[in-house]
């Protein structure tokens, strides 16, 4: 009986001991803010110089050309080969960049197409690639708390150049969350008439979204629920403050 008593006492003591240990904190959400993404088509809007056309591949063949800006849904983690044609001041020439989405965004439900990842490919990028240079663009989601105090609606994406020995993803991670990588260089498809699977990276699937309107930097706004909250019980503020 004494043994049973001591056994129960010891068990309760251990139980009490562990009950006093605080629950571990959840940790810093910024250290691991993402979870693996599977089969999510991240909306991406590709901007290129006016007049250029973009073509994506299906089954290792480039299909119908699309005018830029072009909104598509790309699987996270896959490499997509693009063909950019009708380049201003470069008649008959074309470049074949790759786009890789490395993280998804989490817009409010139903507004995914309103907030795609914006990828800007400039005329300078294209001409550098045609000149034999290798251009890497890392697109990042800007941290609002450390954002640059400049307007982001003036048609030019905020861009920073780094030197050759610097990892652009590391630099982008200091400014926010890297979400996509664009690589552009002298790689061209096999011209011998045979398939080139390595060039197309297996032609991963993608989704074509609605064609964007004429305004280059505006997507079609879908049904959006107004969220106006009327805080006034009586009267509306009328005194202008100067």
């Amino acid at each position: 009986m004494i043994k049973v008593f001591y056994t129960i006492t010891a068990f309760l003591f251990v139980t009490l001991l562990y009950a006093q240990i605080p629950v571990a904190p959840s940790g810093n959400p910024a250290s691991n803010p993402y979870v693996p993404v599977s089969q999510y088509y991240q909306p991406v809007k590709i901007n290129a110089p006016e007049g250029t056309n973009i073509t994506l591949a299906i089954d290792e063949k480039f299909v119908q050309r699309q005018a830029t800006p072009y909104a598509v849904g790309l699987l996270v983690g896959n490499d997509y080969r693009l063909r950019i044609t009708d380049i201003p001041f470069q008649p008959g020439r074309e470049v074949f960049p790759t786009v890789q989405v490395i993280a998804r965004t989490y817009p409010p439900r139903g507004q995914e197409l309103e907030f795609p990842i914006r990828i800007d490919i400039t005329q300078e990028d294209i001409e550098l690639a045609l000149d034999g240079k290798f251009v890497t663009r890392v697109i990042y989601l800007e941290n609002p708390q450390t954002a640059l105090p400049v307007r982001g609606d003036l048609g030019v994406q905020i861009s920073t150049d780094v030197s050759g020995g610097t990892n652009p993803i590391t630099v982008a991670a200091t400014m926010g969350q890297p979400v996509a990588v664009v690589r552009m260089g002298g790689r061209i498809p096999n011209t011998l008439g045979v398939t080139d699977p390595a060039f197309f990276h297996g032609s991963p699937p993608w989704i074509a979204f609605d064609k964007t309107p004429s305004n280059r930097y505006e997507m079609t706004r879908y049904q959006s629920t107004p969220n106006r909250i009327n805080p006034f019980i009586s009267g509306k503020p009328t005194i202008p403050l100067r």
Binding site: P33, L141, G152
Partner: protein
Amino acid sequence: MRFQIVSVILIFLYSSAVLGQMNTLTIDPTLAERGVKSVAERQEFPKQIDSNIRSTINPISGLQRQTEYLTDGGDGIAQTRVEEDWTVRNLETEDTVAHFDTLDGRTLVEPSNRVFIYAPRFGAVRKIEGVVNNAQITALSRTDSQYFLNVDQGQEQLGYTAQGIQSGYARTRTQLSGVEGLKKSTGTGITQGLGAYSNFESAMSYSNLLRQQFIGLAELSYLTEGRVYAKAWQGNEGIKVQMNILAPMAATSEEGAESFFQIEEDESKTSKLRLIKTASKKSAQPGEIVELTLRFDNIGTQLIGNVTILDNLTTRLEFLPGTALSSLKSGFIVQPNDGGSFTLRFEITDPLKPGEFGVIQFQCRVR
């Protein structure tokens, strides 16, 4: 016996009480800030928030990703305070607070709630590399390769005479294995002390003695020891020792109130201000206009005065001059802040009676 049963019951009751307190343990401050006070509530937390923001909850940490959201309002890490001369300290970017004076001479600070606006903005980091440099490196490596193949590499093979040194090692191993062989054939009963050979470095001397059959049973231990060393030196086998040191873990916690203070406050004389902040949009593209509204209520039972509302706008909200409105007579000051935006200061002229409220509105452009 009766004492034991009573003790068990008492311990069980105590343990149940402590285990019950697990749900009230302090949790992550970020969640606590949102009103979550217990572990149980934390588990239910994702169900309590707005359905539009729920998609951003990380299923691992249970926390909301706010990188894509503009946040404005509340009081940041450092608590805002007001000096006696009404100088405001620790007003950080994104903070929205109100301070007011009470009839008993105190100056109190009341933060607003936070508003979230989904407005992601994307930037780019570009790196340009020249392919021409790579071609030069390739050509150089070819030249070096041919040079060494024709001339230098042949000379280096002569230097492989070092292999002869390695074969010397093989001789050493041969002698050691000889020790093993002789050990097997030892059947002599002659006992002769070999205590001096406690180290296998004397393996050669061992061999001489063994040839003279001076080995005995007393030497077997040294032979065995030497054989073990020999095997270890051969590198084929080694002794592996694995130790797991398990230290007893103990965690103790002593919690208790050192002193109790009881504040008796007459509920009929409270001074309290409530500050509510809302935004006209939950999501916005860069360039869109968002209307922010601040409503302040005297929810106390006493008159409060010098009501001052401060909104230190986040970097990506640009105040539009000429859009500020107030329902009460108010002073208005705009100053640039550290984040490249503006701090708005509204000074309500008249005291606020219990139950009275005021509304301030202004517009911002999302950068």
